[in-house]
Amino acid sequence: MIITLNDVNKTYPGAVPLHVLKGINLEIDRGELVAIMGASGSGKSTLLNILGILDNYDTGTYTLNGTLIRDLSENRAAELRNKLIGFVFQSFNLIGYKNAVENVALPLYYQGVGRRQRNRLAMEQLERMGLADRAHHLPGELSGGQKQRVAIARSLITNPALILADEPTGALDSRTSKEVMQVFRDLNAEGMTIVIVTHDPGVAAQCKRVIRISDGLIVPDNTITAAGSTTVTTPDNA
């Protein structure tokens, strides 16, 4: 198991404390392509943040790749994020004043990898994404699909155990959504574990497994076998 969550609870403190996750139990195996679906306010973003070690949880246990994620120092959390997790965000989250290759290379910078090697590895990832000719463009000069592929290249560069994607197609039109999903499927075919948080059934339909979350709890028995399905629903936010 790459991810094991055992009775994970999370409450946001406040005048009216908000119990967001009410005992999540979840196991994700190596090589899975999982969609986490839920309405807004269901707790799926909180779950993603916890999975990404971007946020803490209150009780329960979360084990990532054999490491118990609990009360980590900022440095240790940063190190685990860097080595184990590749993030892909809805709004790409590229650094605007750095070109594509620099953006892709950035995680390696924080590993202390030398510049030359960093940029060489980054170029390889960009080539893999078919963006070699865009390597020296700034994010502002790229289309949405290209930006997301740069972001995916960045998430891959540290050769992580897991890719966490938060609404990766949310800002893309239907055609580029399909392209990006195809990238994820190809990566998964190569053995990469990918967790995609989405509210788009069309995206979820392309995943091997869908986990539905509602009101802070996982809705049981929703494993569907949609892999290879050709009935892709067009996102209506295009």
Partner: protein, 421 residues
Amino acid sequence: MALQTSLFDIDNWREIGATLARNKTRTFLTAFGIFWGTMMLSLLWGGSNGLEGLLMRNFAGLDTNMAGLFTSRTSKPYKGFNKARRWNLDQNDLDNIRSNVEDVDKATGVYQSWGQMSFGDKSSNGQIIGIEPDYLRMNSVILKSGRLINESDLAGSRKVAVIGDKVADQIFPGIEYSDVAGRDISLRGVYYKIVGVAKQIGEASVAGRIDDSALIPLSTMRQVESGSGNRIDVILVSPKPGVKVKELLPRIRRQVYPIHSIHPADEEALDCFDLSEIFEMVSNMFLGLTLLSIFVGFGSLMAGIIGVGNIMWIIVRERTHEIGIRRAIGARPSSIIIQILSESMVLTTIAGVAGIVFSTIVLHIIDMATAEPGLPACGFTLTFSNAMIVLATFMILGTAAGVLPAIKAMRIKPIEAINDK
């Protein structure tokens, strides 16, 4: 590892450059604050040194630990004498002070008279000062040509004179100083042989400006001015090193008063013009001025530093989202802190060094403009050690200015930062 990476990785320097270059106007204005602060501090510091030098060089050539003793009317009746009696110092007192007062290093008598100096049809009015050779040790001069008054002139009561350069210019116009020595001059109708031409070093002198005077041996003066007896106008006294003139005065009074029948407690009859006191006053004044300059200068620099802190704060706010991205992809808090601190340090260092360089140039120009041949330089310079202090100050404070913003940046949770749009 993180530090090494950031120090030697060209990307880090590029990134600093890119961040600072992104908002050129703002960076320039912030840098200007530091530049101005550093420049003010350096200019004021070096400037106050220079002003002190400018004033102090007026005293160049003068023994600073020296006092001139002079007499006034007595202020107390004593031994049948009424008060307000006139009296004079004389050769006997001088000998007495020299041999009987403890801690006197040098003592020399001066007798002055005003009169006409002439040769041929050229003449000039000025002081004719009877001196002993010690006088020129306490009040050094620049010898333009010839020699000074020496012991054998004094012993032989020779009719020799050292004349001031202005006197030489007036009475022997167009003649080289070296040719002036050896000529004759009439001082109040008596002919003397000129043995030297001299010029005062600074602006200040104890007994008349040497440039406009003629110096003759005191013994010769006595013979010529036969009416004066053994009278001495002023006795210059310099104490041994470490002793103050003030300590000598009561001892001198004890030696002099009984002979002239003056009340031992008379504070007015014999007083002194204490050069060391004036020196101390001037020194203190300039110490005050220097402290004020440093205070004001550091204030300006602080204002600049606070400006940097302010801008770093804004930069952190502006880049919260970016910092969040970096944190998400694995930047440690320390990497973020180093990044922010290096930006603030680079900005202050470049601007600060520019400030030091600029003020050094300005001070050098002032120093050259105030330079006068024969006089020591005023010292309108920021000394190397002071420059280092200024450098260390803005380096440390400039880095410190980044600390609060950097801590703020570190406190940003990656998830909050990512959502900060």
